[in-house]
């Protein structure tokens, strides 16, 4: 497959970012463990049960949550269902194509799904209406509106912010409307490697030249709940442990600052 002009990176940009990172500098002047400005606007879409408009620097992601009545899976008759989907629309970046979901959007949806599911953030067992027959199905839909790097963290933040505000529309089945049962608040932190340095919250420029990416989600207790490694580069033992420590530390800060928990 031939790559479009936008997908080919300037060779000298790669060398330059690597060179300055060895001197402790990032191209936008941030510290290695500094996030860009996070702005979240919840209940952005009035017709959804929950939603969030997230801006992480110039990256913008819109997350919508719908809660509908459905049939449970035969192997889990006593728990609700969570489905996550991500859409990379062509408006967000010249490198995004319309058409069926590609590898990147599937990875994005799966990583966010794993963060929510494996952290047991939503108490799915409380989402049963009639055991074995009717349960609540939670649809999390991620729409990327502007791509300037670090979609994984922006989408995870958006999904979690939207779920925290989500109401289960009990009135549809002659019950009361209730907030979605929440157990934990996981936070996903993505780091990339340029040269031999790890950066959190990569911008598009940094993502383009990165050799390795590692995303780690942690919960309040500092447990790792999800992890994904991307790109073709490698990480040493020490780097993985360092990445975990950074994720826990920054995760705590963001959980407090953004979600107030």
């Amino acid at each position: 497959m031939s790559r479009s002009a936008d997908e080919i990176v300037y060779g000298l940009k790669r060398e330059y970012l690597e060179k300055i990172s060895n001197g402790g500098i990032r191209i936008d002047g941030r510290k290695f463990d500094e996030f860009r400005n996070i702005r979240i606007n919840t209940n952005f879409v009035t017709r959804a049960e929950g939603s969030a408009d997230v801006r992480l620097g110039n990256t913008r992601v819109l997350v919508g949550v719908k809660v509908e009545v459905g049939e449970p899976f035969p192997d889990t008759p006593n728990s609700g269902i969570l489905t996550t989907n991500a859409e990379l629309i062509p408006m967000a970046s010249p490198t995004f194509e319309s058409g069926p979901p590609n590898e990147d959007s599937i990875e994005l949806a799966r990583v966010v799904d794993r963060t929510i599911r494996e952290s047991k953030m939503i108490d799915l067992d409380k989402l049963v209406i009639t055991p074995g027959e009717k349960v609540w199905v939670v649809f999390v839909d991620i729409h990327v509106l502007d791509y300037d790097g670090n979609l994984i963290d922006a989408s995870a933040l958006g999904a979690i912010a939207a779920l925290l505000e989500t109401k289960v529309p009990g009135s549809k089945v002659q019950q009361e409307d209730t907030p979605l049962p929440i157990n934990h608040v996981p936070v996903m932190i993505t780091q990339i490697k340029i040269g031999s340095n790890l950066f959190v919250d990569p911008s598009l420029e940094e993502e383009e030249v990165a050799t390795t990416r590692i995303s780690i989600a942690t919960d309040e207790a500092g447990n790792i709940v999800a992890m994904q490694k991307g790109l073709s580069g490698t990480l040493t033992h020490a780097e993985v442990f360092k990445a975990v420590d950074t994720s826990i530390e920054i995760g705590k800060d963001i959980r407090k600052r953004v979600f107030g928990r």
Partner: protein, 220 residues
Amino acid sequence: MDISKKIVLPGEEIDLNGMKQGNGIYHENGKYYAYQLGMLQVYNNYVNLIQLSGKYYPVKNDRVIGKVIDIAPSFWILDIKGPYPGFLHINDTPWKSGSGELSKILGTGDTVFAKVNEITESKQIWLSLKDAGLRKLEGGHIVTVQPTKVSRIIGKAGSMVNMIKEMTNVKIQLGQNGIVWLDGEPDRVLQVIKILKIIEEEAHTSGLTDRVKKILEDMR
């Protein structure tokens, strides 16, 4: 009424006050309208429209910065942020194709500072490296700005860009196509990137060179 520096919207009627119709303006039923969002400028009794934003359109002898995106048997295909890619033939470079392998000279992702040599009738853009100062760019960093703002970054007779170069000690190579190559101390390069953003945003205001000078002095 003085119409210079007036900002007009696409399709907005323009009263030429008896002056002649220049670039970026069309007429219909005896009236004049703007093609694009831009600022009016009066020059030699002509009213021209200077567009505020837009894509780069190559003109012969423009100096541009291009990125190799593909290699053909005897020429390179370069992205110059224009409507069509640019072609650079081996005969228009100082190099010889002795081995026959072009990728050994310039590979995909390499950057060159070239000039637009010729635009054919079928809109093929041929570039050349055969002139003073044209070369393969090595080291340094690449940033992009709006192509319409490049002339503002250069300033009158290069006043703006020379001032930035002098005060920051950063080497700057500007392409007419809005691609800028910078090389120098990393924190100085960051300052220049910030300055370029400011110039881009405030390009239509007057007294910009003095303000930029002040910002640069404060940064020191």
